[in-house]
Amino acid sequence: MTLSALTRPWAAISWGFLDASAKREMRRKIVKAIALPGCQMPYASRELPMARGWGTGGLQVTLTLIRPESVVKVIDQGADDGVNAASIRRFLSRGSGARETWDTLEATIIQSRHRIPEERLRDDQVLVLQVPNPEPLRPVQPDMSVARQMHADADYGRLWLVLYEQMVRSGRILQGAAYPSLVNGRHVMTPSPIPRWDVPKLHMARHLTLLSAGREKRLFAVPPHTSLEPLVFSDVPYRVEDHAGLTCHRSDPKGVFMNEIPQDGGGSVFEASDSNLGIKAIRRAEGDPIEIGATWYQDGEFRA
């Protein structure tokens, strides 16, 4: 009997740039994060051929989840064609054999910065959000070890205090992006710099969301069918950005989150921030048989 008879023939067993032990570390932390929704899990961050602060946190999660049969979409501020989004997407596909897409419906993994797509995500899709600052308590507690104790004690009085003072001073809540939210009734997390418009999309969602910060080396999760409640007073309703009545000036979508584009003559026009949704709408209007999925917002209203 020869050695080769006892072993399998050589085959590539690793993909996605990271080595097996780095992936195991990430997988463990992902499982932990899913088990404790909204709780930040520290992890050993690897060096990647990309500077920290450019999405290395999200990238490590995606590289761990990706497989040759995956279909990957990467967006930056809602757009698939930004330099950063394009280079991350290319890196992902080259290192894994996964297919690239711009279409939300087609993707199995969506890595994003600043936005959640407007088309509803399904239970076979994973959303990976790049997070610049994972600690919602940082503005009220600069000492991170004290902040961790506050999480352990579910001591979120100071976050509420900030909202109280905004109401006292301005008569409204000023917090825009990264709106602090209570996950599963236990941990307050920052949902990365997504707009308030996108926060309800995480509540009782069908898909899994993983949020990861490469510089801070922390990841956390909003598992499917898990509650996520923005911190709001019972008598001051949560308000999303006032985009329900806007229409994209290039394509037909209405009632989606818009980018404002200032014009030379003063004034401004609006453009669907989810750029692939806009592209699909234009192509469909031109007669192409394009499928547009059900959106979270219908007629500017969020539909649970």
Binding site: W160, L161, Y164
Partner: protein, 255 residues
Amino acid sequence: MAGAPLLTMTGISRRYGRVVALDGVEATVWPGEVLGIVGESGSGKSTLLRMMNLEDTPDSGDYRLALPDTPGNLFDLDRFARRQLCARRIGIVYQNPHLGLLMGHSSSGNVAERLLVAGERSFAALRARARTALEASEFPLTRMDDPPRQLSGGMQQRVQLAKSIALEPALLLLDEPTTGLDVSVQALVLDTLKRLQRDRAITMVIVSHDLGVIRTMADRVMVMRRGQVVEQGLVDQVFQDPQHPYTQELVHAKL
């Protein structure tokens, strides 16, 4: 005093390194009464109050409060239960307002935070309840949204007081609440405390090295020295006819 005590402490001892801060202290407080604690600096008064506020744990000793759902030795409670009990049932005013207040946040916000921790989520109710507590502490409402950092010492103490009574605690602890204030301001703050005590019959423990403060505020007094209680009794009795040589010294030095 009739009936069951609200607070019972027995055999409380605490060392910090070689310093014996508390040495077998026993304390009892009945509902509605004001217990004064006097003693020279370093005699363990603040340490005892911190124990009553469950901020610190003794090396040995037993602490009970006769409140619903708080059975057994409170030092055996886990961290979470302690915090809940502290926030909801015990109020404290420190000599140093930095210990009790977020100096850069608004005064009303400092009070509201207490209410938020206890689960109040209506903005209108937070506003109204903070205002009520500040009013009861005779704090000038025109300044309710100014941060304590910008307020006088007397006003800072009133914010602490408002915060500590906002949830109508069963027990109010006061650690030298007027020490460091001008004499005239001190008298006004003591007036407020007396009125609150009269109107709400709050059970209080007040620590002071100033016998005058204890005489105005307290029903009973406990005299501490080197971590021990050397004498206790009704204020009039102890101050008129002190038994322990240390108390005699204290009273005569003062008079």
